[in-house]
Symmetry: C2
Subunit: 198 residues, 2 copies
C-alpha cells in the first residue's frame, strides 16, 4: 500500500476515464485533495446527477433532462426537416452553428457489419416510425463521413426513398481554412465531384 | 444553451481539473453518461470520501486516513532517521523505492521569498518541535533539486546543525539511464562535484 485507501479508490475511478493513465489519475486525485470541499462535493453531485437525471428523448433520441427534449418541444423549429446524426455530440455541434432550424434524429451509432451492428441496433426503426407519424418533407443525412457513416446514410436513403421524402446528404469537401496541398486524395476527389457553379 | 444543465454542470466540474480543457471536459462528461450507473456513483462517492476522510498526519504531515499515519505508527521503521520532503507525493515516490526504512516529514511546500512563502508558512516549525521530542540521529533533506528546494534545504540545515544531528542532502547527478550528451551543464557539474572513489 503506497496510498491511503480513499486516494487509491479515487485514482482507480479516474483511471477508468478515457485518456487518463495512472500518472495523470494520481495527479488529478491529489489535485482534488487540495480543492475546496464545496467544489469537490459539487463535483460528486454533478457526476451522480448527470447520470441520474439525463435520459434519451423518446422522440429524437437526443440526450435530455426532460422528455421530450427542448428541441423536439420547440414550436418555432421547422418540424418538416429532420437531420439524422450518429451521436448527441453531433446535435450539439449542429446547434453551435446556429444555422439549422429543423429537428434531429440521433441514431446512437452507425451500421457496422464488422462489429455486428445492424440497423435494428441503432435508432433506425424509431426514425421510420417517426416518418410515418410526422409530416416530414426532408431528411438530411449527417452521419460521419467514414465507411460506417456512409453505409448508414446509404441504407436509410434506400429505405426512405420510396416514400417520396426528399433525402440529402451533407457535403464532402475541403474544410474551411484547410489547405489544398495537405488534403487527402479522397477528400479532394469528393470536393471536385461536388463542385458548384458560381 | 447547447447542453442540458446536468451535463454543462459536469463539464464545468471537469474543467476545474488541471490539464483538462473545455473539449476534453465535454468528452469526459459524455463518457460518464455512457458508464455503468454503479461506476459513476462509486466515482462520486470516492471523490467525496477522499476529501472528507483524508487529513494530514499530525506528526509528519503526510496525507492519511488515520492519525497518526501508518508510517509514523509503524514500530518496525527506524525512528532515528527522518527524510524531509516537500510533498505527500514525494513520500509515495520514496515508498515505491522500498529502500528507505526511516520516517518522513512533509513540508507541504518550499521556502520561496518571491511568492512570499517563508519557513513559518510550511511545516518547518513542526519539524523543529519534532527534533526536540524524538530521538533523531539523521535528517535527510530530500527537497526538490531546484532553487526553492535548495534554499529550503539550506535553511533547515543551518537551523538544525547546532543541535548536533547529522544532516545530509540527497545526491545530485545524472539520472540512471540518462545520457551524458544530453545532460545540462548544472547537472553535469553537480555530478562531477559529487564523484565517488571506486
Amino acid at each position: 500500500m503506497y496510498y491511503p485507501e480513499p486516494i487509491s479508490k479515487l485514482v482507480d475511478s479516474f483511471t477508468k476515464l478515457p485518456g487518463i493513465g495512472p500518472k495523470t489519475a494520481v495527479r488529478l486525485a491529489f489535485f482534488v485533495l487540495n480543492m475546496k470541499e464545496d467544489d469537490v462535493l459539487d463535483f460528486a453531485k454533478n457526476l451522480a446527477n448527470a447520470k441520474r437525471e439525463l435520459t434519451h428523448c423518446s422522440v429524437c433520441g437526443h440526450i435530455t433532462d426532460k422528455d421530450p427534449c427542448r428541441i423536439c418541444e420547440d414550436q418555432e423549429r421547422d418540424g418538416t426537416v429532420i437531420c439524422v446524426v450518429q451521436d448527441p455530440k453531433d446535435v450539439i455541434a449542429m446547434e453551435k452553428m446556429k444555422d439549422y432550424q429543423g429537428k434531429y434524429h440521433v441514431l446512437h451509432g452507425a451500421i457496422s457489419p464488422m462489429d455486428g451492428i445492424g440497423p435494428e441496433d441503432i435508432n433506425v426503426p424509431s426514425l421510420i416510425e417517426r416518418l410515418k407519424d410526422e409530416e416530414v418533407e426532408e431528411l438530411i443525412l449527417a452521419t460521419n463521413p467514414n465507411v460506417e457513416g456512409e453505409a448508414t446514410a446509404m441504407y436509410i436513403s434506400r429505405l426512405v426513398k420510396p416514400s417520396g421524402i426528399k433525402i440529402s446528404r451533407i457535403a464532402h469537401g475541403l474544410p474551411v481554412g484547410g489547405d489544398l496541398e495537405y488534403a487527402d486524395e479522397v477528400t479532394l476527389s469528393k470536393a471536385l465531384e461536388g463542385r458548384r457553379d458560381l
